[in-house]
């Protein structure tokens, strides 16, 4: 028996230990509710989902991508080769051990990179504790195994091989110990999460951002205790590698509100265990005190529980965390599930959300305003009612912004553009109820479902080709969330339609006066719907000098206006729109173009040295007006 074959045996032993631990980990997910999972398709798709979808996210940080490829690839290849050493014909093969040595060398480089990232100083987004020990164990296992392999290749006699074996065994054992409750869990849970992901559509090229309807006939609505989560959600929480990418992306975290998506996922991963390991990453900013108790049947949210209510109400549902998560975890789903229980079972909503929810229910409009007053903004502009026309080409969905002075200007510009382009448009007028976005994000699925059904019934009475809206929230709800309630529509955002009209030459644009401009992507247009190009194409048609903020497109930062955050109004240290406006100013732009009533309201609420906030429709109308020679007939 030499060190090499001993290493092979040790690795087999570790693998058995690993399997035992894995079973223990998996059994914990069993407390969750059943979920329908297409196992065969899922398992078969793991390589593709890993190599394409996960890599797409990981590769945004090239260092991390390389580090992970080296360490994980080397680990798997080296260990597998070493185990092959037990197969009689290969036993003692120098070639085999040479290959293993190369694999372990590669892995060692990866392990070194893991260490390099954390020492001498650990970035704030990374966790300490066991995570800080991880590079030592990796280097131990890889280095030790490398020695053993070299020993086998070079036939060295002496203690070096045995020394390597001891170090590798210690390192390997340490790594296995980190499976159940340490950093290594992500490997096992992460792989299974790819197979059993609750939104498989994400891997099929869909945006898959629609909230999943709650079962309103369930005995308990929403999630109160960990056991209320589907088991594959619990699996998802366990997949978190605490990379902190979500933390960096989260606007609420940046504003010092008590939300940190990374910590939240860790709390949820610990929630169904009786003694979860200590969390060693950055905390919720201004963390509110909680009792910190956990267990599969213990309540999750509450000062006397694990997560403070302010944490879940701070979220703007911007999905930046989901977009950044390499483990494909669905933070927003979890937050909305938790909110659903708070709202629909306990009525425990933030004070500011009570009135909008009540009004959504009793007046079908979150401001409690008369539905007929929605068209007041038009002030003389022709706004035909579809009830009078019966049918039209483009049905203009006005949204709740229509009641606000600011968005009224945008809508007037848009209507004027439609008129000039000769579009056959109409509005629902007093028949347009709120789309239900606010109620749904605040967890009131019942009110949302009522509104959705009522709107779908109304829309079903008329003929139109597509729905146009200047509100990305309404766009998302109508396009992606109404289908689950039986409403299927072609919905187009005004940026896309105006771009189309300009491309067709139906709107003649003159070059706008120069001035630097930057475009702020609305979360519900960019991230939720992947529409980042049309607005930019449209702006570029105006001949403006367009500059990008560092965070833009699908990785843009939220204005703070979504998910009911403005009405929940959870106190932080800063305001999200202030941060975003500072980013816009940092580009030197004089104007920030927006494409959403919420963004306009939030960014216009910023005081001091600010860029002018203009909606795309306003900018386009200015260019169209500039294109009409003075005195020419319109």
């Amino acid at each position: 028996m030499n060190a090499a074959s001993a290493l092979s045996l040790v690795i087999v032993a570790l693998a058995i230990l690993l399997a035992v631990e894995a079973v223990r980990v998996a059994r914990r997910w069993h407390v969750g509710r059943p979920a329908s999972v297409d196992w065969w398709a899922g398992l078969a798709a793991i390589p593709k989902r890993y190599l394409v979808d996960v890599h797409h996210v990981v590769a945004r940080d090239p260092y991390a991508a390389r580090m992970h490829a080296l360490a994980a690839g080397g680990l798997l290849a080296g260990s597998a080769l070493a185990v092959l050493g037990l197969v009689p014909p290969l036993a003692g093969s120098r070639w085999l051990w040479a290959l293993a040595a190369i694999a372990f060398l590669v892995a060692l480089a990866g392990g070194g990179m893991v260490g390099r990232r954390r020492y001498p100083t650990r970035p704030a987004r990374l966790s300490g504790g066991a995570f800080q020990r991880l590079p030592l164990l990796l280097v131990g296992y890889f280095g030790g195994a490398l020695l053993v392999a070299l020993d086998a290749v070079l036939d060295l006699t002496g203690p070096l091989g045995w020394l390597g074996l001891v170090v590798a065994s210690l390192g390997g054992f340490g790594l296995v110990r980190l499976l159940a409750d340490g950093p290594m869990r992500h490997a096992f849970a992460g792989a299974l999460h790819l197979a059993a992901h609750p939104r498989p559509g994400r891997f099929e090229g869909e945006r898959a951002t629609a909230l999943i309807p709650a079962d309103l006939d369930a005995p308990r609505l929403g999630v109160a205790v960990p056991a209320d989560f589907a088991w594959n959600r619990l699996l998802g929480f366990d997949a978190c590698i605490q990379c902190g990418r979500c933390e960096v992306a989260c606007p609420a975290f940046a504003a010092g509100q008590p939300l940190n998506p990374k910590r939240l996922i860790q709390d949820l991963a610990g929630s169904f265990k009786d003694a979860p390991p200590a969390y060693r990453g950055s905390d919720y900013p201004q963390a509110r005190p909680v009792a910190g108790v956990s267990g599969p049947e213990r309540p999750i949210v509450g000062a006397g529980a694990l997560i403070h209510p302010d944490t879940i109400w701070s979220c703007t549902t911007c999905r930046a965390c989901v977009e950044e998560c390499p483990m494909m975890i669905e933070h927003v789903d979890a937050i909305v599930d938790l909110r659903r229980f708070q709202t629909m079972e306990l009525a425990a909503v933030p004070a500011g959300a009570i009135a909008p929810l009540s009004e959504s229910r009793y007046a079908e409009e979150p401001g409690g305003r008369a539905l007929a007053a929605r068209t007041d903004f038009a002030a003389g502009l022709p706004l035909p009612l579809i009830a009078e026309k019966g049918s039209c080409d483009v049905l203009l969905w006005l949204g709740s912004g229509a009641y606000e002075l600011r968005h009224g200007r945008t809508l007037r510009a848009l209507v004027e553009l439609l008129r000039r382009a000769g579009i056959d448009y109409a509005v629902l007028g007093p028949e347009e109820r709120d789309c239900g976005d606010l109620a749904r994000r605040l967890g009131d699925e019942a009110t949302f479902a009522d509104l959705a059904r009522a709107n779908i019934a109304t829309l079903g009475r008329y003929r139109f080709n597509r729905i146009l809206t200047a509100d990305p929230h309404a766009l998302h709800v109508l396009r992606n969330e109404y289908p689950a309630f039986g409403g299927h529509y072609e919905v187009v955002h005004h940026s896309a339609l105006l771009d189309e009209l300009a491309a067709d030459g139906r709107l003649a644009l003159a070059a706008a006066p120069d001035g630097r401009l930057t475009y702020h992507d609305p979360c519900y247009l960019g991230r939720y719907n992947g529409e980042t190009d049309a607005p930019r194409r449209l702006l570029d048609r105006l001949g403006l000098e367009r500059v990008e903020m560092e965070r833009h497109g699908k990785r843009s930062m939220c204005c703070g206006g979504g998910g009911g955050a403005p009405v929940s109004d959870i106190a932080g240290e800063r305001r999200i729109p202030d941060i975003r406006m500072a980013q816009a100013r940092a580009t030197g732009a004089k104007t920030v173009a927006v494409a959403c009533p919420q963004c306009a309201a939030m960014l216009e609420g910023v005081t001091g040295d600010v860029a002018e906030v203009r909606d795309l429709a306003e900018l386009v109308l200015a260019a169209v007006e500039a294109a009409v020679p003075q005195g020419a007939p319109r």
Partner: protein, 396 residues
């Protein structure tokens, strides 16, 4: 045909306001020429529908008597007191009169009572709990002082029930206010009288009131017991009435309700008032730097302090002081804004304030546009000047 010659000097003298050292004249009194001049602006105003910023006029003519130019005989000539000696019937009025002074609604109530009384030679009789000033000028013919010892409204209602039975008035009017409304309902429940609650117009033949969340108007001949909504009737503008005190009707009141152990008014300081209920709010924005001074000014003015979100965000004022969409929506009658730009979310909080006073360095601030009085100046300097002026007055 001879025409009376006008003497401008004499006409002006007639308008001289009494009591001030400097000569001051009433400029809005109608000319003494006898020819009635129309004031189109005032007529339009009278038709104006309240509650909208856009000008909307009610031309239906259902608005009851409008604010026509009234000949202010009291101010012009020596007051002649009108006496109704032998009234055909009584119209009783129970004013709130907090602190013994008629509130605006009380005066409107007396005006309505006069309309009802003058329609058929009736007299207006005030049932008062405690001494009330100025009843004659407000149109009262008789005054009956009722026992005011108990602040218990159920005891007062019992006293009113006795008066109702003894005097048999054609109408008994109460203000639709917190106190009057409560009293009227107690009385209605006690006596079984029908109550016409919150009349928005009131004549001898017809009263109207809103119902079903102002979707329906109920109308009919006013019953005996009526409460009057604010600003639904003009105060009495004619000659003062006699306001003769007469003895209270005899009758034995029931023993007060034994369930009521005590009723006491709680002291509430202006700066401890809930913002939503305060009547006068002074508010600081980003333009204010000295908050000690600001609070001192609030105290000196007796106003409840508020703030914009910028100020609350900065921790300079408590969150509870925030005015606006995500703070408190005010019901105050006057809002005094110092260094506040008037962002839409902030203005939503003052939408229901009738009067706004603004101090701002920026002439184009939205708050300046909203204000009835706007001072374009540094608020930091206006604040100490205000305090100094108030202190100087106090020492005078």
């Amino acid at each position: 045909m001879s025409r009376t010659r006008r003497d401008p000097r004499e006409e002006r003298e007639a308008r001289r306001l009494a009591g001030s050292g400097r000569p001051r004249w009433r400029l809005d009194a109608p000319p003494t020429s006898g020819r009635l001049r129309r004031d189109p602006r005032r007529e339009i105003d009278a038709l104006r529908v309240a509650g909208t910023t856009r000008l909307r006029l009610d031309r239906t003519g259902r608005a009851g008597p409008l604010a026509l130019p009234t000949i202010d005989t009291a101010a012009v000539a020596a007051p002649t007191i009108r006496i109704v000696d032998d009234p055909a019937y009584l119209v009783t009025v129970v004013p709130d009169a907090p602190g013994g002074r008629l509130a605006p609604l009380d005066r409107q109530l007396l005006g309505a009572a006069r309309t009802l009384a003058d329609a058929g030679g009736g007299a207006v009789l005030v049932l008062s709990f405690g001494q009330i000033d100025g009843l004659g000028a407000a149109g009262a013919d008789r005054i009956v002082a009722l026992d005011a010892e108990s602040g218990d409204p159920s005891a007062r209602a019992a006293a009113l029930a006795i008066a109702l039975a003894a005097l048999q008035p054609r109408h008994m009017l109460l203000p639709e206010s917190a106190g009057g409304g409560d009293l009227a309902r107690r009385l209605a429940a006690k006596t079984g009288e029908a109550l016409f609650a919150g009349a928005e117009s009131l004549t001898a033949r017809l009263a109207t009131r809103p119902a079903a969340n102002r979707r329906i108007e109920q109308r009919g001949a006013p019953p005996r017991l009526v409460t009057l909504a604010p600003d639904a009737h003009l105060p009495h503008a004619g000659a003062p009435h006699e306001a003769r005190a007469i003895a209270a009707p005899e009758g034995r009141a029931d023993a007060p309700h034994t369930g009521i152990l005590s009723i006491e008014d709680l002291p509430v300081a202006a700066d401890a008032l809930p913002l939503a209920e305060a009547d006068f709010v002074i508010s600081a924005g980003n333009g204010i730097t000295d908050f000690e001074l600001f609070r001192a000014l609030a105290r000196a003015l007796g106003a409840t302090p508020g703030a914009s979100r910028m100020v609350c965000d900065a921790g300079l004022m408590p969150r509870a002081a925030q005015v606006g969409a995500s703070g408190t929506v005010l019901e105050a009658s006057c809002y005094f804004a110092l260094g506040i730009s008037g962002a839409p979310q902030h203005l939503q909080g003052v939408a229901r304030c009738e009067h706004v006073v603004a101090v701002n360095t920026d002439l184009h601030a939205a708050m300046v546009e909203r204000a009835g009085l706007a001072i374009i100046a540094d608020a930091q300097q206006v604040m100490p000047a205000l305090i100094a002026l108030l202190t100087a007055e106090g020492e005078e």
